[in-house]
Amino acid sequence: MQIKISLRNVFRNRRRTAFSLAVIVVGFVVLVSVLGFVEEALLSTKTSLADESGALQVATAGLFDNTSKGYDYLIDPETLARVVAAAWELEGVSSVTWQLNFAGLVGDEAGSTLIIGRGIVPCSDLQDYECIVAAGSPLDESSDREAVLGRALARKLGVQPGDRVNIATGTVSGNFNAATVSVRGEIVYALEELEAQLGLFPISFVQRLLKTDGIERILIGLEDVDKADAVAAALQQRLTETGIPLVARTWKQLNPSYESIESFYRAFSGLAMMGIAILVFFSVLEVLTISFLERSREIGTLRAFGTPRGRIFGSFLLEAASLGVIGAALGAVLSVALILTFNAVGFTWTPPGAAIPQAIRLGLSARVIIMPILTILVSTLLSALFPSWRNSRIEIVRALQSV
């Protein structure tokens, strides 16, 4: 009966209830939108970083710490083979590839410019460059003296697929070397600055250019990026046990800025949650206080018949909780509909300094819905605490005299 009274009281003053529900639903939708945006932003940042650098990398400590001299960080083919074999033995590894990078000059008779050359294993599962090719085609297994240049770099050089350019750099022993390659394609890259300097080459070509059979780093892809720490620890143990003097680093260790980005977004979410909680708290507090005060005589009557204070208190809390649950349920339905519609429309924007427009999406997960539900329920219940307590403590005679 107490539950019945509470539920019926929720809808007793429909206008007032509608106002409370509107505040709760709007707050809920705003909160879900913020959390959905943050979740999607963090996920896309994490995915792009892990795609770019691999979930794990294995290289010398000197390379990671920038303490190497010259090319003393290179990994010989035998060690590479042992690391690759050890990596594939670990659970959750989805791909393994390796790179050899260099810095040099690129150009033709008309002029030259700096290039950051990346020697890659073409057709690697880990780094799929095909989807960012803007013109021509990506490198494939048959590629040798070919390059895929950043679109901005190609424009700077005035070349297009099919043209030839010269590459010059120092070899690992410090001598000068140069070669002519054919431009096979152009890629767009997330960062415009890097797009103006980046060139991709088959790793076998880069090794010949640098006159080495070594590689710089091994990149490992995982089925679940979130397990990077565990896999890195297991791999490091194998490396140490087998006497391979290399270290494994996770994508987070390689991109320390991610933690700052994550902290910023989490703080942003926390502030949004707090703001909505405060908004709901005061709105519901005002409505419940008026509503409860209007029912003083009823409270007096119920108490006069022997209803314990605790039951009166519980009844008011239940009423507030019902309001919160109904509001949260409506908010959840509306939020899901809005997120699905928003994502279906497909908004994009190009961040400053970026070359590729990015999709603005709102993430939809259990966390995105559950956190607002908890926020709404807690703030609604907190807002009901004082008026409920006050009403349950009111003197019966005074309550019965209320109009």
Binding site: M1, I5, R12, R303, F305, T307, V397
Partner: protein, 239 residues
């Protein structure tokens, strides 16, 4: 309503006693004496009407007897137990089990139906569902509203509401029923019907009935009349 003839055998035995009952209120810097050293006793089966001008202390007296308020001095004994010795929880228990209250403004819970309003005290007593349903059915029939149990209070007339309030007050078979101006908001015909019903309940169920009223028509129903004036009780004898 089930016959409470077992209780009727105790007709004439002391049930309720007020000893030197006083109530004072502090209004600003002055002290208001709402009730001054009132002595009163009611036997089982009594039907007492309490008269007096407005502000004389009638309702205060009823509040103290019904244990919804505590005296400043003196004590109320119900079946020999002083309410002063009882905790808040025990007072709630006492009201729940032994006292029925009827208010001038009916005080029905608007979100509950007539039947649910009548049922409420039984829920407080944690009576089984079947027993509750049976008692509600028989009590509503007794007050002549057997067909209107599903209606909400705002769908009932004043007289019907007061009958539901009476049903609610009596459904737990209390030994003491206190009514504060039960006919004040009713027309004379409906008021007479309500008082007929109350007299019937008093006679058939041996309920101790204390009725505060200004209405001379109500007074004639009582077996005994008392008058309160300026917080002091004046025994009026037979009405």
């Amino acid at each position: 309503m089930e016959n409470t003839s077992q209780f009727c055998h105790e007709r004439g035995l002391p049930f309720l006693e007020a000893r030197a009952l006083s109530k004072t209120y502090q209004v600003g810097s002055s002290t208001v004496h709402a009730l001054r050293e009132v002595d009163f006793a009611a036997m089982q089966g009594d039907f007492v009407v309490i008269n007096g001008p407005s502000g004389s202390g009638k309702t205060t007296f009823l509040n103290l007897i019904s244990a919804i308020d505590r005296p400043s001095e003196g004590e109320v004994l119900i079946q020999g137990v002083s309410t002063n010795t009882l905790s808040e929880r025990q007072l709630a228990q006492l009201r729940k089990d032994k006292i029925g209250l009827i208010f001038q403004t009916f005080n029905l819970i608007p979100v509950l139906s007539a039947a649910e309003n009548a049922e409420y005290p039984l829920l407080l007593q944690r009576r089984p569902k079947i027993e509750r349903a049976e008692r509600v059915r028989s009590m509503l029939a007794e007050v002549g509203l057997g067909e209107l149990g599903r209606r909400r209070p705002n769908e009932l007339s004043g007289g019907q509401r007061q009958r539901i309030a009476i049903a609610r007050a009596l459904i737990t078979r209390p030994k003491l029923v206190l009514a504060d101006e039960p006919t004040a908001n009713l027309d004379s015909e409906t008021g007479a019907q309500v008082m007929d019903l109350m007299r019937k309940l008093n006679e058939e169920h041996c309920v101790v009935l204390l009725v505060v009223t200004h209405d001379p028509a109500v007074t004639k129903y009582a077996k005994r009349q008392i008058r309160i004036h300026d917080g002091r009780l004046i025994e009026g004898g037979q009405p």
